[in-house]
Amino acid sequence: MTSAKSGDGAPHLPKAPTGISGLDAITYGGLPAGRPTLIAGPAGAGKSLFGLTFLVNGANLYGEPGVLISFEEQARDIAANSASLGYDLPGLIDSDKLVIDYVRVERSEIEESGEYDLEGLFVRLGFAIDKVGAKRIVLDTLEALFSGLGDGPILRAELRRLFEWLKERDVTAVITAEKGDDDRLTRHGIEEYISDCVISLDNRVEDQITTRRLRVLKYRGSAHGTNEYPFLIDEGGISVLPITSAGLQHSISNVVVPSGIKGIDAMLGVGGYYCGSSVLVSGTSGTGKTIFAASFVDAACKRGERVIFFSFEESKEQIIRNTRSVGIDLEAHVDAGLLCIEAARPSLFGLEMHLTLMNRTIERMNPSVVVIDPISALRGPVTEVHAMLLRMVDLLKVKSITALFTNLTGLAASDATDHGLSSLMDTWIGLHHLEANGERNNVLYVLKARGMSHSNQIREYQITNSGVDLIEAYVGPAGVLTGTARQAQEAIERDEALQLRQDADRRRREFTAKQAMIERQILEMRAALSEDQLELERINEQIEGRERRIEADRLAMATRRGAAE
């Protein structure tokens, strides 16, 4: 028996865990140990299975042997019915961990004469409890006594004594009871004897879809979740989803995960989505929402992370084939055990059931990325869809799972569902068709991205056979140009650029030619100058020669005159 924390910090009430994880979370540890708990609900709500699960888990997981007193089914029927859930009752009985006693109460076989008490039942319970040293006992359905023995003061007094006796024996008892008419909790009002813990099961049909719900009506001496929680019965037993135990206490992360599309990473200030955030990709039909999701999945799997892809519109094979056509090989990731694609029609279950199923898959696989494609397929009243998604988002955030939701919108830019969803999402990418000039072109923009700066541009994108390509935006005088208009504009720009480039080339060539010519001229002029210099030197030499000759002549004449005198 484990004593779990009670929510209010009061002295810890010992609790007997049920082994049904969601229920133990709601009740902060399980049922009150050593006290009786009433489980009430209509036929087929799963009361007996709850009781049986409590016993089997007690024996297998918590070392507490148990006793099942069945007023409705023979032991062999119980064993056969529960074998499909993987419960090995004969094995437990053989190893003295479980006793099943079938108590038959048949009105027509019983005549009453004078006073009696139920000591016979007490003897049988005591005998069974002592046989295995039971710490747990299930009485299913105790109210059968009322049909067998009549609703008289003796029976009521004996029931009161029974519950006191069970407490004295210090066994944790589960008593099941059929729901009464007119909103009475039980048909015979036995809730007045069991005041420690009362759990109500329900099985409601709304819009032809059945949803099982559980509620802890009362838990004396312990805090407990008070909401209605959806639960699921299938081959895995009982799963309860404690929705609002999530809340906003989740830790946040600054780690960034790439979106799988380069262009989108560039539009988001931090280069991707925050780890553990919720991303909404909304768009009209045919904008490639699933491919955006698949790109994200592909990137995550390539990093070696585990991913769950919940598909409500396409089958697993369809998704694999369709994404392969854009160059994304999801099958390899499936084969590697990194990717789990769960496809289910939304109308197969109620919203709560989907949530519960998804929760179980997530718990089993422990992924780092979850994709839900698309949330618009979930049908139901807007408030309920919103509530379900809120729980889903909370649940994923608590586990720090990055979630990508796709949403199909109408042709109008945003509708009511979008508005309701917006507050839940951290990042919202809108995909749209733009119709102009006789063609439709895809554009996307980031509506919001919490905690990061992001591009305000409307960007055109194309889905090619190698994934999603974002194309540089062209913003013209009349807004963003897309498709052929953009191409035409780009062609004009290309022509202009070419022209400019050609002009520049020509000018460069002209300049080079001019430069060469001038340099040649400079050389010619230099040559002329040097000729002039040579001429000048020659003249100077002539002048000097003449002067030397005149001087020599004068000397010769003087010599000659001196001899004559």
Partner: protein
């Protein structure tokens, strides 16, 4: 007042139902009374049964008293819940009467010794 057939078993010993399948004449009533200890209700039921059999079934009945406090394992076999419970094991079918057997008419109806409308 006690019938020879009935008083010796109040200790609950030797009450295995399969042991005493001796030949019994037609119309013989084999009765088993389940009680819990020596409570006033148990004692009253034993006394009432012996008195009733002496009057209505003289010489053609056997009574076996089972004390569940001593033999708790026997309660399940006869589907005993209430105490005291009188089980008519013969003649078939098995009949059950619960209580101290104070209301003789109801016991007689229960044992099919008297029809309801008489």
């Amino acid at each position: 007042m006690m019938n020879d057939d009935g008083d010796k078993d109040s200790s609950g010993k030797g009450t295995d139902p399969s042991v005493e399948e001796e030949d019994l004449p037609d119309g013989h009533y084999r009765l088993r009374l389940y009680v819990a200890g020596q409570s006033p209700k148990s004692l009253a039921a034993i006394a009432n049964l012996n008195r009733l059999c002496a009057v209505h079934l003289p010489g053609c009945h056997s009574i076996e008293v089972v004390d569940l406090v001593k033999n708790p394992e026997l309660a399940a076999a006869d589907q005993v819940l209430a105490v005291p419970t009188l089980v008519r094991r013969l003649p078939p079918p098995i009949k059950r009467i619960i209580g101290t057997l104070a209301d003789v008419d109801k016991v007689l109806v229960g044992l099919e010794l008297r029809r309801d409308d008489q």
